[in-house]
């Protein structure tokens, strides 16, 4: 048995909780260990003296009545209620807070439900600008320029460049007589 274990066994011995078998082990250890032997002897004396010293104090009692406890329990201050929980204001504030909380929870859950999982590729400003680029302008000259620009863009993408009227005037040679509806059927 180590000295540390012997110390614990001594504590058991002094509190009257040591098993007789353990007491024999403790005494066997003390026989071979002068330090533990001296401790066992002296601490037994101290423990005995403590027991004797506290013996009269263990007889002390009090005439305290439970009525003092009843009085203390009754005179305990009521839990303080803040002003926002008193009367009509309290009810109103509670209802408002409950509604607000419910809206927060519900709104949060809806937001989560419809949240798109596609990351946006362009800002709203860019989308609007692109939209108006594809729309014809209202003013006549600008419309003609816009139309020419659109046609040129299509021509560049689809095939060789097509000649179009320059300067806002149509090339007469491009029109066949059959297509000239102004002169069709008219006497020359």
């Amino acid at each position: 048995m180590a000295c540390r274990a012997a110390e614990h066994k001594m504590a058991d011995l002094f509190t009257g909780e040591l098993h007789p078998r353990d007491r024999l082990e403790l005494e066997a250890h003390a026989d071979g260990c002068a330090r533990c032997d001296a401790a066992l002897r002296d601490l037994s004396t101290i423990s005995y003296a403590l027991d004797r010293a506290y013996a009269p104090l263990r007889q002390r009692s009090t005439l305290l009545s439970p009525a003092r406890v009843h009085l203390a329990v009754r005179s305990e201050p009521a839990p303080s209620v803040p002003w926002w929980r008193v009367g009509f204001v309290g009810r109103l504030s509670e209802a408002t807070m409950a509604l607000g909380f419910a809206a927060l929870v519900l709104g949060g859950s809806l937001d989560l439900a419809v949240k798109p999982d596609v990351t946006p590729t362009a800002s709203a400003k860019t989308v609007i600008k692109d939209y108006f680029k594809t729309q014809p302008p209202a003013e006549e000259t600008a419309y003609v320029r816009w139309l020419r620009f659109q046609l040129r863009a299509i021509g560049a993408a689809t095939g060789p460049a097509v000649r179009y009227p320059v300067g806002g005037q149509f090339d007469v040679e491009q029109y066949s007589n059959e297509d000239d509806w102004l002169n069709s059927g008219a006497p020359r």
Partner: protein, 224 residues
């Protein structure tokens, strides 16, 4: 016997366990709560007295302890005994108060009964014993709070190691170490007084061990 004395007697003879009394008190039975009060009143009073050295403070501690117990009835789940829980509250309340400095609880007035009961002992012997008790209690006061409370809970209140461990909220091994350390400190302190027969921290021969006062009283018929 009628009146408060009869009621008190009935409470003191209440055979119900702590757990049953707590559940009854939780249902509004104040008589059950009073029975708990009478059961543990003196122990808590003594504990508060040994820490604060002030009887009126010790009574206030007892009242405060039971007031807290009443407040905690709803969530109190005593596993077998309520005692460690009450003592733990009382220890905390006691250490929250400033103890009276330089006051040693004198067992002189308490040993007055011994004086009348044991007339065969001489007054000088009684005075000598009282002086030795005073020296021991003064030595206990020199211990630190952690070690003193273990000594007080065992030697004053009779708690076992497991209950002390619950009160001070630490493992039993720690309680044993603290008790051993406290006793060693007391030995160092009291070895200056030859009345105790303790030689000052010397290693003595093992053969002298069984000549000191026995810890356990010998059985009848056992050879001395």
């Amino acid at each position: 016997m009628t009146g408060p004395a009869a009621r008190r007697s009935a409470h003191e003879e209440d055979r119900r366990t702590d757990r049953e009394l707590v559940y009854a008190a939780r249902d509004g039975d104040m008589l059950a709560f009073d029975a708990l009060f009478y059961r543990y009143r003196d122990g808590i009073f003594r504990l508060g007295l040994s820490i604060t050295k002030d009887p009126s403070a010790a009574e206030e501690i007892a009242v405060d302890t039971f007031t807290r117990a009443h407040r905690a009835l709803a969530r109190l789940e005593p596993e077998g005994s309520l005692r460690p829980w009450l003592y733990r509250v009382a220890v905390n309340l006691s250490y929250n108060r400033r103890p009276r400095k330089g006051v040693i609880l004198s067992p002189l007035e308490d040993s007055a009964n011994d004086t009348f009961q044991s007339e065969e002992r001489s007054p000088s012997l009684l005075a000598e014993q009282a002086e030795m008790r005073r020296m021991v209690l003064a030595a206990v006061d020199t211990l630190g709070p952690k070690h003193r409370i273990v000594v007080v809970l065992h030697y004053m209140n009779g708690l076992n190691l497991a209950e002390i461990a619950q009160v001070v909220d630490c493992p039993i091994g720690t309680v044993k170490s603290r008790l051993h350390y406290a006793l060693r400190r007391l030995r160092a302190h009291l070895s200056a007084h030859p009345e105790f027969g303790i030689e000052p921290m010397t290693l003595l021969a093992p053969s002298a061990r069984r000549t000191v006062a026995p810890v356990v009283e010998p059985l009848a018929g056992e050879p001395q």
